[in-house]
Structure formats: C-alpha cells, structure tokens
C-alpha cells in the first residue's frame, strides 16, 4: 500500500456529474411505482374539488313583492357593469347641464358634511349622527349620460382622503389634502377636449394644479356636467376571533358649491338621482340652487363593487372562490412530498440512491423537480375542473359571478397549482433536513396550512394579515381574484379572498421559504453521512 496523500473526500461533494435527465427519470420511476403515493395524490386533488364545490353551492332564496319566494338564478340581482366590465355602484345625486363639444366646468366647494345612522339598525326613523364617511364624496362630474355604469370623470373632495380625481369607477388619483370648509374651500375644474378629460384643483381659484388627465373612450358629443354628492354607508367592521362581522347603514353626504361656471353649456340646470341600487343608498332631497349657491345631497356611491361583505350585499363568487379546497390538497401533497424522501431514510434506501448518484444536491434537485411537476399537473387539472364546474353551479344557483379576465383566471388556477408544487418542494426540503416523516409533515403544516387556516377562519384581521405576510402561507395570495380598491372601504380580509400581499409578492414569499429550505437541505446532505 502506498503512502499517497489524497485530500479527504467529503461525501456527496465534488461528485462527477451524470446526466440530470437520467436522475429525473430514475426519480420519476421511483414516484410512479409506489401506488400509495399516486392514490394519495388523486385523493388530495379530489378533496380540492369536493371542498370547492361544496363551499360554492349556496342555496339562495329571495322574496318578491308578490309574496312568491324565488330561488336560484331568479334571485340574481341586476348588476351594472362599468366601462371596464367590472360590477359597479353608481348611486348619486346630481345637478347638471348638458355640455356639447369641448368645454369645462369649474366650481368652488365650500362645505362637505354628512349624516349616518347612530345605531346599526337601518330604517326610516333611525336617529342620525352628523359626520362623514372616509369616502363620502362631493364634487364636479362629467358623465357620458345619466345611465348607471356610463363613463365619467370627476373632481371631488372626500371625507378623509382629500381631493381626488376619479374616473370610470376604478381610477383614483390624489389631489389637495384636507376637507373643504368655508374658510378653506376647494376649487375644482374639469375640462373636456375630445375624449380627454383633465382635472385640476386649487385652494384659491388662481393657482391651478393638474391632478390628472384621462381618456374616456366613446365619450358622446354631448355629455352631462354638474355637481354631485354621494357617500357609501356607515360601515362597522368587527374583526374579532372567529371571523369578522359586518354592520352598516346608509349614510348621506351634502356638498355646497358656489362660483360655478360652465363653458360650452346652456343656462338651464336639471337635477337627477342616478341609482342602480347597488350602493344601498337612502332617499335624499333633490339638489337645490339658491342664487349662485348649489346644495347637493346624495347617498350610495360611485365605485366598483368589491367581493365579500360590504360589497353591496351581493351573493357573489370570484374565479378563486371554488379553490378554497387548495389547503386540503396541500395537506395531502405535503405528506406525499415528505415521504418521497423520508421513506428512503427509513428503509436505508437513501444509501443506494446516493451510491448510485454521489452528487446529493442533484438527487434532491431531481426529487424536487419530479414532486413539483407531478403536483403542478395534478393541481392544474383539479383546479381547472373545480373552477369550471364551480362557477357554473354558482351562476345557476343565483350567485353573481364576478367578471374575470383570462390572465387573472390563468394566474389564479395555475398559481394555485404552483402554490401546491412549491409547498411540496418545501415539504421535501424540510423532510430532507429532519429525515422523519412525522416531524417534517408537522413542520410544514404548522408553517403553511395552519397560518392560512387561522387567518381565514379564526384570527382578527390584523393578526391574520401579518400571518399572511410573514409565513409561507403568504403564497395563498396567488389566489386573490378580485382587486382591492383603495377608494372603496370594505372588509379586505383573507376570508373574503383578499390578501395583504400582492399575488406574486405573496407567492414569492413562499418560494423564498422553499429556496432557503432547499439550500440548507443540500448543505446538510453534503455534510452528513448518508
């Protein structure tokens, strides 16, 4: 025996690289040849479908003035769509003139006040308290006719968010801060040029600042221009343990304007109450004109409808409503993914695996690719089936299905499948570190599924949102289908399908956890004796 000195070989390091494709084939063969794992995968996906379809099958009944009780499709409320295709609330009072061709409207808003019910009961004789809602609004508007849902642009003051330029329900730009008073009025101006409407505000009527300029497609030659007021209801949102409750009542807001000037319009003022009854507004007096002073009182809102409570009481479903069962599928996927490696440890098979492929990092990579791919494909099939059947069932039972775009639908469904796949990789990596099924499964469930469950079902909103920011459960944000609007107060809670992080940001948090777990798993694999 020679006395050569050769550096001590680390196990699993500096390994010669075999073709990764060979490794992938081997790991795929391992996976598909254990019938229990295939069956578990199918069960997991069936759970997802079952949860989704059970969760979405609401039995809706409604009474009609004739005393007849209707059910299902017949109860679906009439929904007004905005120019962007989203359901909208379009309830407000307005005093207006037709404006033909290009022109502008300018007004000084000297007061914005409001009233709301002092108890949670609604009704004609409910005592009212003075005060504004954060998004009570009054201002000037240029609207493409008075039909609810038509295009518009408005310069308005709000209860708590200063001056805004809003347009076509979803657009919202910030102007001057503060609430208008007689001492500190707000000057507002809208000019129309072709399809373009530009909004300005001013504190003194001399120095004007442009807030925004928007193109309203299909603006008629003659539009309506005038002063409006409206306000969403008084929302009391309780987010305690065991889920949130939502109480509210209709409120009203009053704006007082003077120094009104219109160019390109006639001298005659008309008044109107635009109402599609989506905002739960209350009856308000007609706008009045006394000399140069206009008083407009309105109730309702000009805003997109949001899903969940606070969204006009609409029994509604989004493209992600039926994917509620993803957590159940994830539970099963986590078990299978963990066992994909822990059974090898338990049986000593891992030694054969690492003897066959000494580069242990690549073995783990191959396992991760296989389990992720299997999970993704299974999740994609289950998710697609669930969403298609679920939305049909919802629509048939009278639930309003929020319109969705193809990119959103694909993101939600494929994203849910990807969420399961990344969850599987996380489970695999943790299982690699701890080498025991029970410990690995418990860890992943506590880290991913439990926070989601707590956030959706139990915790108050604040705690729920922190869990969904910090834990791997943040990945569920990929399922958010309905947009969250800053300019609409509502219960943006996980239970209603709203997440604290943007869809891809939340998904990135989950991916980060998985990547870190994989990093440490590979490090441990290389250091440890097999």
């Amino acid at each position: 025996m020679s006395a050569r000195t050769i550096a001590r070989p680390e196990p699993g390091q500096r390994a010669a690289a075999d073709r990764f494709g060979d490794l992938l084939r081997a790991e795929w063969t391992k996976f598909r040849t254990v019938r229990g794992w295939l069956i578990a995968m199918v069960i997991g996906m069936l759970l997802m479908v079952a949860f989704g379809l059970l969760g979405g099958s609401a039995n809706i009944a409604c009474g009609t003035p004739g005393g007849k009780t209707l059910t299902g499709k017949a109860c679906e409320p009439p929904v007004t769509l905005g120019p962007g295709g989203e359901p909208v609330t379009d309830d407000f009072s307005v005093i207006y003139q037709p404006l033909t061709g290009n022109g502008s409207i300018t007004a000084r808003l000297i007061s914005l006040t409001g009233k709301y019910p002092s108890t949670s009961q609604a009704g004609p004789n409910v005592p009212m308290t003075s005060g504004l809602q954060p998004w009570s609004k009054a201002g000037i508007i240029i609207k493409n006719g008075l039909k609810p849902g038509s295009a518009y642009a408005a310069m308005l003051a709000t209860g708590a968010h200063g001056v805004r330029m809003q347009y076509n329900f979803t657009g919202d730009l910030a102007g001057l801060p503060g609430r208008p008073t007689a001492a500190a009025p707000r000057w507002l101006r809208l000019t129309r040029h072709g399809d373009t409407v530009t909004g300005y505000d001013s504190a003194d009527g001399r120095h004007w600042v442009q807030v925004g300029s928007v193109v309203l497609a299909g603006l008629h030659g003659t539009v309506q221009a005038g002063m409006f007021a409206t306000t969403p209801g008084h929302d009391v949102i309780n987010t305690g343990f065991g889920g949130g409750s939502f109480q509210g009542g209709p409120a009203e807001a009053t704006g007082v304007f003077d120094k009104v000037s219109l160019t390109g319009a006639g001298p005659t003022w008309s008044t109107a109450t635009v109402a599609n009854r989506m905002g739960g507004g209350m009856p308000t007096p007609q706008p009045t004109k006394a000399g140069g002073t206009f008083t407009v009182t309105g109730s309702g809102d000009i805003a997109p409808v949001i899903a969940g409570p606070g969204g006009g009481g609409l029994p509604s479903a989004t493209v992600s409503t039926h994917l509620i069962g993803a957590f159940a599928a994830l539970l099963v996927v986590v078990v299978v993914a963990a066992m994909f490696i822990t059974t090898e440890y338990r049986r000593g098979l891992i030694r054969l695996t690492f003897a066959a492929s000494p580069d242990r990092g690549r073995v783990l990579a191959a396992k991760a690719v296989v389990i992720a791919a299997v999970t993704f494909v299974a999740g994609l099939i289950a998710g697609t089936v669930t969403v298609i059947i679920g939305l049909r069932a919802s629509a048939a039972s009278g639930v309003y299905v929020f319109p969705y775009t193809w990119p959103t639908a694909v993101r939600v469904v494929a994203g849910t499948a990807a969420l399961l796949a990344v969850g599987a990789v996380l489970a695999l990596a943790i299982a690699t570190m701890v080498r025991r099924s029970a410990a690995a499964i418990a860890t992943v469930i506590v880290a991913v599924v439990l926070p989601y469950f707590l956030a959706v079902a139990i915790l108050p909103l604040g705690a729920a949102n922190w869990l969904l920011r910090l834990t791997p459960a943040a990945g569920f944000a990929i399922q958010q289908a309905a947009p969250q609007y800053y300019q609409v107060s509502g219960q943006y809670a996980p239970a209603s399908g709203y997440y604290p992080l943007a869809p891809w940001a939340g998904f990135a948090v989950l991916c980060l956890y998985a990547a870190v777990a994989c990093f440490f798993a590979v490090r441990l694999l290389r250091r440890r004796d097999a």
Binding site: P9, P11, A17, D18, R19, D22, T33, V34, D529
Partner: protein, 318 residues
C-alpha cells in the same frame, strides 16, 4: 483502470466509538476476497466509506485508482450490495431495478438480464414487501450487477439464504471472480467463505488483523502438527515423548503431536510395535483459524459463552 478497491489508513469515529482504526487493504481483481470479522469490526463502515456515503476522518478509499465520488455512472465501475432490506416495500422488484438502471443511464433490457441472472424473473413484478430475506439478497445482487461493473462489493450476502441459496451464491461469486472481476464479500461467519474466498482480509476493532491467502491462513493455523489415532495411547505417548515430541491427548484414542513430522511418527511407532490406525497432518478448520485471529478483538461477547469459546479456542490450539 486497474480493477482494484484500495483502502488506506481509514479512521472514523462515531461519537465515543472508534469504528475504523487505520483500516488498510487492497482487493485484487480475479479473486474473491473475503472480508471477515466479528460484528462491529468496521466491515460495513469501510464499505460505506468506499461508496462515498460516509466520510472518513482520515485515510482514503480508491476505486480503480480514483475516489468513488468522481466516477461517472459509478455502478458501471463498482456494484454494491449494502443492505438487502433497503427496499421500498410497495415497489416491485423490476421497478426497483428500473430506477437504478435509469440513474446509471442503462437500458431497461439490463434489468431483465440481471433478474434472470439471479433467478428472480418469475417474481419480477411482485412487490418487494413479500420477498424473503434470501430473495432480497438476490435482488440486491441483481442491482449490483446492473452496470456490469469490474468491481463488486457485497455486505453479508449469505444472510437469510437457504442452503440451496448459499450453494448458488458461492458458485456465483466464484464465477464473477473468474471473469476477472474484483469481488469483496463480507461475512461474520468464516464458514460461509470457506469454499468461496481466495483471499481473506480479517478485521477486528476497526483494523486489519490478517491479510492473507486462504491457503496460507490454513497452513498457519494448522501449524506443524500431526494427529494420531491409536488404541495403545500410553505406549505411544511414551515412545513419542522420548523422541522429543510434545504430545496432547485430544480424545480417548487420539493424540496431537507437535515437533515431529508424520513420517517420523510412523517410523517411531512401527519400530516400537505400537499399533495405530491413522496418522495425518492436522488441518485446522477455517473457523478455528478465524477464532484464533479475532479472539482479541471480539466486540460484543456474552460473558459465559465468550469465556467458553475462548477456552475452546486455546484448547484447539494446544
């Protein structure tokens, strides 16, 4: 590439236990090398180090002159059976070999070939959970043969085999060696290797106790002794003692003589007209030789049984 497995100065500690204490040997091609020693002597640890599964604290293990980890498709160089029980119970024998073959870039055809070689073709599609230990050993050996490697390493392949299986295994190991492969077979029972191994590496307490050919070991253990069978024991003892031999009574009619060659014993007895029925050179069994070598390094020894065994060893040696 020379088909040798070369282990040099391996040292490895598991907590308080020194598992390998300077293990060094070389497995040569064309012969079966028996790797024997009591349980806990470091045989399996050595094999794991060779396969790059365990990192030694010191020393090197080279397979065909290079570290195992630097081999591409390692099973085409060194085939190994470490633990016959290392199977996914739900997976069939064929599928178990299939993933192994795929990991080495080998065609599925090889799977059917090795299944035939070890006689498992008829149960190829049965779940491994129902396999006897003997069948698992055959399956493990099939896995080692997949890549047609020039070096082979089997850890306790005789475990759980029925007599028919043991006979098959011996022939099989010999045929692998006769094809020029280097074959290392570990066992804690010397008798299993008696008619199989050409060379022996005897280990105890993590190091090599003897590294010798089977023939040399037997000769050394036998010593220069002669066994005599006679009905006239006292007369024979007197004659032989006078001639300067050391004589031990081993039975009612048997004596063990050392210090005299067999021809001389025959001559002396004939001259003194002492009757005898047999004079033969003493042949120590491999078992005896092994026990002598490893008596110092048996790790786990039952107090009473162990003491008796040690006494028996000394008795036999006398």
């Amino acid at each position: 590439m020379q088909a040798t497995i070369e282990v040099t100065g391996l040292r490895k500690r598991f907590g308080p236990t020194l598992a390998l204490d300077g293990m060094s040997f070389t497995v040569q091609p064309g012969q079966v090398t028996g790797f024997v020693g009591p349980n806990g002597a470091g045989k399996s640890t050595t094999m794991r180090v060779v396969l790059g599964l365990d990192a030694p604290d010191e020393g090197t293990a080279l397979v065909g002159g290079t570290p195992y980890q630097s081999l591409r498709r390692p099973f085409t160089h060194l085939g190994a059976l470490l633990d016959a029980g290392a199977l996914q119970p739900g997976r069939s024998a064929r599928n178990h070999l299939l993933w192994l073959a795929q990991s080495q870039g080998l065609p599925a055809r090889r799977v059917d070939e090795v299944l035939g070689q070890v006689g498992l073709t008829s149960v190829a599609r049965r779940r491994a959970a129902g396999f006897s230990l003997g069948m698992r050993q055959r399956l493990g050996i099939a896995g080692a043969l997949l890549g047609q490697p020039r070096m082979l390493m089997f850890d306790e392949p005789f475990n759980g085999m029925d007599p028919e299986g043991i006979v098959w295994m011996r022939g099989f190991l010999r045929s692998l060696a006769s094809e020029g492969r280097a074959v290392l077979v570990s066992s804690h029972l010397m008798s299993e290797l008696q008619d199989t191994a050409d060379h022996l590496v005897v280990v105890g307490r993590g190091k090599v106790v003897a590294d010798t050919s089977m023939a040399e070991l037997l000769a050394a253990a036998s010593g220069d002794r002669v066994v005599l069978r006679t009905t006239a024991r006292p007369a024979a003892m007197t004659v032989l003692a006078q001639a300067g031999a050391a004589v031990t009574v081993t039975d009612d009619d048997a004596l063990m003589i050392s210090g005299l060659a067999a021809e001389r014993v025959v001559g002396l007895l004939s001259a003194a007209a002492v009757p005898f029925s047999e004079v033969s050179a003493h042949r120590a069994s491999l078992e005896q030789a092994y026990l002598e070598l490893t008596s110092e390094s048996v790790e786990f020894r039952g107090e009473r049984a162990g003491a008796g065994q040690a006494a028996a060893t000394k008795e036999a040696a006398r």
